[in-house]
Symmetry: C2
């Protein structure tokens, strides 16, 4: 079934109001979920709302908690997320980084003690919508083995980079594992193989069998040793700047994942002046590439196409999921 | 053969003095090359010096040119590399970013019109040695096909992240291709297969045959579509902030590669206070991982081991290369 953006946002806002959110925060939180489905990231929108509600019920998420600044030096600030809703904390942190960038050219907010930010790309789009370059990342619970090991000890630590562009921002949102556990389960449920190797099977061989990888929990980092190393660095930088927890200190049960550390950086190129349309020329050159196996897209291009379609035709939602949401 | 660090630096300094460098710049440039061999990155040290000299001779590198600031807003600055030596420009830019971070918590220098920075990791070690977190990247000539295409149109755009740690900094230096062209050629010369797929063969299949990949020029981005997307974002951010050239505007002949755009970010966590030894605890936890196929190392660990050995025993150099250098 399809639900209009306005209806989805209104229904979710209503649910959150009844869960104790202050009205403006209920609306913002609901819109961040609806934006995610509108943009086609269906794993992290309404489908994820069920787990979000459970983390309110189990006390991981404190709906009333707001982030507070605990230290600052110039354009660098450290905030405590106080265990509040992860998407509201992250949105407030990127908003603050943008304000710092507008005042100082570049700004950085490091956020400790926060919860899952849902779709990380949200905060890249937020920065680009404000006309600035955005760069943010989070640590996560341990869900990937470091290179050379079989046991999950590093997070898949999503990294987001966004460059604004009038005709459509360039926005990348990538985890350090080639596929998420959720993606493996989606492929397995559809009876499909992965398009490329996503981890190791029970014999220790690289595999495209999602069920075999899910069984070993040996997800593959992007670029093998490279993504493993980048996950370590993102964790070390986030925990150090936030003065918060590192991956090895985060509860490993998904619905208990909490006390995450995140970094939000915004850079405002406008006051520097200089040539315009650099990002446009990059996109034009990519689009002019002779295609090999498929069309060449820039990161964010498909998101924008999906957004336009979903705003026009309504957002696809599983009927069982929507029935559950409207029964809350 | 092995050459002491002091001898290597002195010989290279002498060569550069006779090529027209001012004495302090000759010494710094020579040390940056010697540091690279000392740390075991043999592809980008003395072995690379031959190409560096040729780029002086062909006019790509102007030994007298110094970077100059062309725009600034708070903690964000734009510099013009003026076609000077790439490693000197990059070192000066990271030094400036560190100073900006010490004053403002975070600092960013975007550098246009510069040349190949040789080993990117150098500037990560530089930041960490100053006690700050470093993040820098460069664009390059087009040497990797974007995901979905067969023709090289994106750069392998190395990304460096460094977190300081008293017992040994955590430093990552990764290109967006799984292997560099130089690495492919090294494997091919030794008659070895790649340890993991590094690109496509002539039939369009993923391959571990370095010669077959070198023939198609279809290098594989790390994480397939993910590394391809990250390369696009790093290029767009660097060219936009620097007001400089993007990959598609950079000459594709290696010895004509010039007018690169780079970004140097430093973040100083010290004034924020808070918990110490976060990076130590991450390293300790990694080291305690039960090994799978090999030992678990943190990024930079091997570098430090190699550095200690090479300082004690001398730096390994190919005799033919060293004979050529000393004949200059």
């Amino acid at each position: 079934m399809r639900v209009s953006y306005a209806e989805m946002a209104a229904v979710l806002t209503d649910v959150l109001n009844r869960r104790g959110f202050d009205p403006p925060r209920a609306q913002r939180c609901a819109e961040l979920f609806a934006d995610t489905d509108r943009d086609g990231v269906y794993t992290h929108g309404v489908e994820r709302f069920r787990r979000f509600i459970r983390t309110i019920e189990n006390g991981v998420v404190d709906v009333q908690a707001r982030p507070r600044r605990v230290a600052a030096h110039g354009a660098l600030e450290r905030w405590d997320g106080c265990g509040g809703p992860g998407n509201l904390n992250a949105h407030a942190s990127m908003a603050r980084a943008i304000a710092l960038a507008q005042a100082n050219g570049i700004g950085c907010v490091a956020l400790a003690n926060t919860n899952h930010w849902m779709r990380g790309g949200t905060y890249g789009w937020q920065a680009a919508d404000a006309g600035v370059i955005g760069l943010c990342w989070t640590n996560t619970l341990a869900n990937v083995p470091p290179w050379g090991a079989a046991e999950p000890r590093i997070g898949n630590n999503p990294l987001i980079v966004a460059v604004p562009r009038a005709a459509g921002h360039i926005v990348l949102d990538i985890a350090m594992s080639q596929f998420s556990v959720g993606a493996l389960q989606s492929y397995a449920a559809r009876g499909e193989r992965l398009p490329v190797a996503g981890g190791y099977d029970g014999d220790g061989h690289l595999s495209t069998d999602p069920a075999a990888i899910d069984a070993t929990r040996r997800l593959l980092p992007i670029g093998f040793w490279k993504g493993s190393g980048l996950a370590v660095l993102l964790d070390a930088a986030a925990a150090t700047l936030a003065g918060g927890r590192a991956t090895h200190e985060i509860p490993t049960e998904p619905e208990r994942e909490s006390s995450l550390s995140q970094v939000f950086i915004a850079i405002d190129p406008a006051p520097l002046g200089g040539p315009q349309h650099i990002a446009d020329a990059i996109v034009d050159h990519l689009h002019a590439t002779p295609p090999g196996d498929g069309a060449v897209r820039y990161p964010g291009e498909r998101t924008l196409e999906t957004r336009r379609r979903n705003l026009a035709e309504g957002i696809p939602v599983r009927e069982s999921t929507w029935n559950w949401v409207t029964s809350l």
